[in-house]
């Protein structure tokens, strides 16, 4: 009986907490990341990769080169493990768009699907196996009336390093990249 009473009270408390949490999570994600499949690369070689982000309808984010210096640029950054390099990050050109709040000004923005290209390179001494690369997509979104605080979206993906022609027997010290602080 005590257990039943305790369970009912606990459930009510948890439901209150959940309701509160749902209400506070108005910090919705206005951008979503489309997960990338495992990228295969050989030691000493490079592989291209495309990271796709979906900006939800009704919203836009600043491009990587926004129109004024106060605006927060979109950026994609990685902290790869020491055996990998993520390079040549290429942002698409922004769309020059004016909005109802100021039809006289054109802003350089992204909307809809945003494809950012990069290249993954494995160092020549990289050990075989699967590495996890941690990254962050930093953006600041607005709609036609308001702007929302800058956000960081985790962007994690796996890289599979295949054995080189002359196999490396060096053990891989650390598969994980450090967390970005």
């Amino acid at each position: 009986m005590t257990k039943i009473v305790g369970f009912l009270v606990l459930s009510a408390v948890l439901m209150c907490g959940s309701l509160q949490g749902q209400n506070q999570s108005t910090a919705q994600n206005r951008v979503e990341f489309e997960p990338v499949g495992t990228v295969a690369v050989k030691p000493g070689k490079t592989t291209p990769v495309v990271f796709t982000f979906h900006v939800k309808p009704g919203f836009h984010i600043n491009s990587n080169k926004p129109s004024t210096e106060e605006l927060i640029p979109t950026q994609l950054r990685f902290s790869p493990p020491q055996d990998l390099v993520i390079a040549k990050v290429q942002y698409p050109a922004g769309q020059l768009t004016s909005f109802p709040f100021d039809p006289s000004e054109k802003l350089s923005v992204y909307s809809g699907d945003v494809a950012i290209k990069a290249v993954v390179m494995a160092q020549s001494h990289a050990g075989t196996g699967t590495y996890t690369v941690h990254g962050e997509f930093m953006y600041q979104a607005c709609d036609n009336n308001a702007c929302y605080p800058p956000k960081k979206l985790p962007v994690d993906f796996n890289v599979s390093v295949a054995s080189a022609s002359h196999g490396s027997t060096r053990p891989r010290p650390n598969k994980q990249s450090p967390h970005i602080h």
């Binding site: 009270v9 009510a12 439901m15 909005f99 000004e105 607005c142 009336n145």
Partner: protein, 194 residues
């Protein structure tokens, strides 16, 4: 058996009360003096008092309660907010026009660690009202300000007349300022010709 039923009944009542208490917590209790606004309707609620650092004032602060007796337009904004920049020149003009009648516009900058940028920007815009360095705590007190601009129109007794999330028109802003000043917002009747 009866005791068990009574216990079950009591726990159901307690759970229901807790659920409603949680719901009220979410909606906010407008009658509470100055603690926190809810996310729902806040008209008539007492605007929570706060104390924030004044920009370019060598550590001085401003409390909302310092402005008691004035109508306050409390505007949350940021330099990265383009719609905010549209209304700032309006605020400069409105402060000039209605300041003598008791209006005080107060800007709360939600930029992160950017006082120099905010200061330069405010100067560039010719801002003639106090700019405060905002905090997440004060944003939470005001119901969790997320979208910018968000403005609260507060009357002379410290009660919220209106909350506006997002950019609204100049006419709408003037209407709300007049309400907070206790002025009529009805169009003046045209005098009859004799």
């Amino acid at each position: 058996m009866n005791r068990n039923l009574a216990l079950i009944g009591a726990s159901i009542v307690a759970s229901t009360v807790l659920l409603f208490a949680g719901k009220l917590l979410i909606q906010g209790n407008g009658a509470q003096a100055g603690s926190r606004l809810g996310a729902g309707d806040v008209v008539g609620a007492v605007a929570p008092d706060f104390e924030l650092k004044l920009l370019n004032a060598e550590g001085k602060t401003l409390k909302l309660s310092d402005l008691k007796g004035k109508a306050v337009l409390l505007n949350f904004w940021a330099t990265w907010c383009e719609p905010c920049k549209v209304e700032m020149p309006w605020f400069v003009d409105l402060q000039k026009e209605y300041g003598a009648q008791g209006l005080q516009i107060v800007g709360v900058s939600m930029d992160d660690d950017a006082e120099k940028i905010v200061s330069e920007f405010s100067k560039k815009m010719g801002v003639n009202y106090p700019i405060l360095v905002g905090t997440e705590q004060v944003a939470e007190q005001y119901g969790g300000v997320e979208g910018l601009p968000t403005s609260f129109f507060i009357d002379r007794s410290g009660k919220v007349v209106s909350r506006e999330a997002g950019l609204i028109s100049l006419n709408q802003i003037v209407d709300r300022i007049k309400k907070s000043l206790g002025q009529s917002t009805e169009p003046k009747p045209v005098a009859a010709k004799n």
